[in-house]
Subunit: 275 residues, 2 copies
Amino acid sequence: MGPETRAAPIGIFDSGLGGLTVVRAIRQALPHEDLVYLGDTARVPYGTRSAHTVLRYAQTCGEHLRQRGVKLLVVACNTVSAVALPMLRVELDIPVLGVVGPGARAGVAAAKGKRLGVLATPGTVASGAYSRAVAAEDPRVEVFAQAAPLLVPLAEEGWVSGQVPELVAARYLEPLFDAKVGALVLGCTHYPVLIDVIREQVARRCGPDVPVVDSAHALASELSELLRERELSNASTGPGRLRVLVTDRPSDFSAVARRFLGAELEESPVEAVDL
Amino acid sequence: MGPETRAAPIGIFDSGLGGLTVVRAIRQALPHEDLVYLGDTARVPYGTRSAHTVLRYAQTCGEHLRQRGVKLLVVACNTVSAVALPMLRVELDIPVLGVVGPGARAGVAAAKGKRLGVLATPGTVASGAYSRAVAAEDPRVEVFAQAAPLLVPLAEEGWVSGQVPELVAARYLEPLFDAKVGALVLGCTHYPVLIDVIREQVARRCGPDVPVVDSAHALASELSELLRERELSNASTGPGRLRVLVTDRPSDFSAVARRFLGAELEESPVEAVDL
């Protein structure tokens, strides 16, 4: 690849702001890469839309990032990853990486032949996306998926420690303990914000040998490998820049963004785009 | 009004299934009326959409119910009530009743000159709809509105008693206690499902003289009066029928519908409509 392509930013697309946890993991793994994040906050959540509608939204957002010259597209949204990756790969002439595949692969490795637990939104559980991705990796591994709808508003509210998140996490984890899972995959971009509480509840009930796999970190690690393999890594040694685009700016944007990104957005220009 | 108009059903429109708590209150107050409920489950939630989009959705749904021959339209959705009532009143040639006005009026009466607390979704709080409606009723009454985003998923999950809803309700009510409100209005159709927990927490912290006003009951009572005044009451003495229309059927439809309606939907045909 030529130096121009290598210096181009990586595009990251999500239905809302949850995908900023993926940005956080990518920045840790690839500190020299420039990133452009597009959150379709005007049309969030995608989980309740028809597959046809999700495809249309994904195409619009993917095309917008492509026109901004990104060298690679990361789909941080589980719903889009479940239905739109093949379409995006055909429509766009750049590599496209979803969040479900890396999470499933890291989960299978961590479960060591045991059942794999997945904590996700009701939409992702109903889509069967993780079951299919795990079956593609190793058809012998059984998936036990648990919908956990309260974890998203807890993460957005910033209630990430104390009695409420502990009780909620414990309740959702109960069927997973009973199913004797060997590892747990966090199958929603919001959940890494709650990873300490989830890890603590898993450790308390199952002992310390049931690992909790964060899909965002699994994705960041596959992304690093892909950039190396395809010679797409940015040769710069300075800190990468982050640019954030939103289709609508929620009133509590800064607080939520800070929580998910784990850093201030001050250095990052936030721009509203009309799609 | 002629006997044909009087025998026509009342239309009730909501962005999702939360409005079934309004249906429940209307059935208690007006057991002989036939009801047609339309839940726009394919496009829920409205709270995050632009006013322009909400107007468009409201027009489509209102027109659909009008074509089904309803004699009156109840807007159970707080978001639609906040922005689309004037438009619906112009576009449709039937009376249109929103949920915000009756809740605000009942709240002002209950607060007896003290500050009025409102518990609502972030969208409804940001819209200022209750503050405007209270000011129209009595400009001297101060409104203290508190956003409570976790109450909707708690109601939808059916976590309506025990430690989790108690702790969550107590936390949201804290600033309202500090503000020394004289009454509390539940400004979201989902909240009546949690009214026992909310009443208990209010009573525990403020004593038994801070009433909790359910907007759905306030609306049902204004509706009864309107039907009498305009001679629109159904003359039938048999039990009214309920018909439920949805634009998309969620996988857990029956459980959620039962929880919000407080009754089985077996007798009620559920029909999917494409809008």
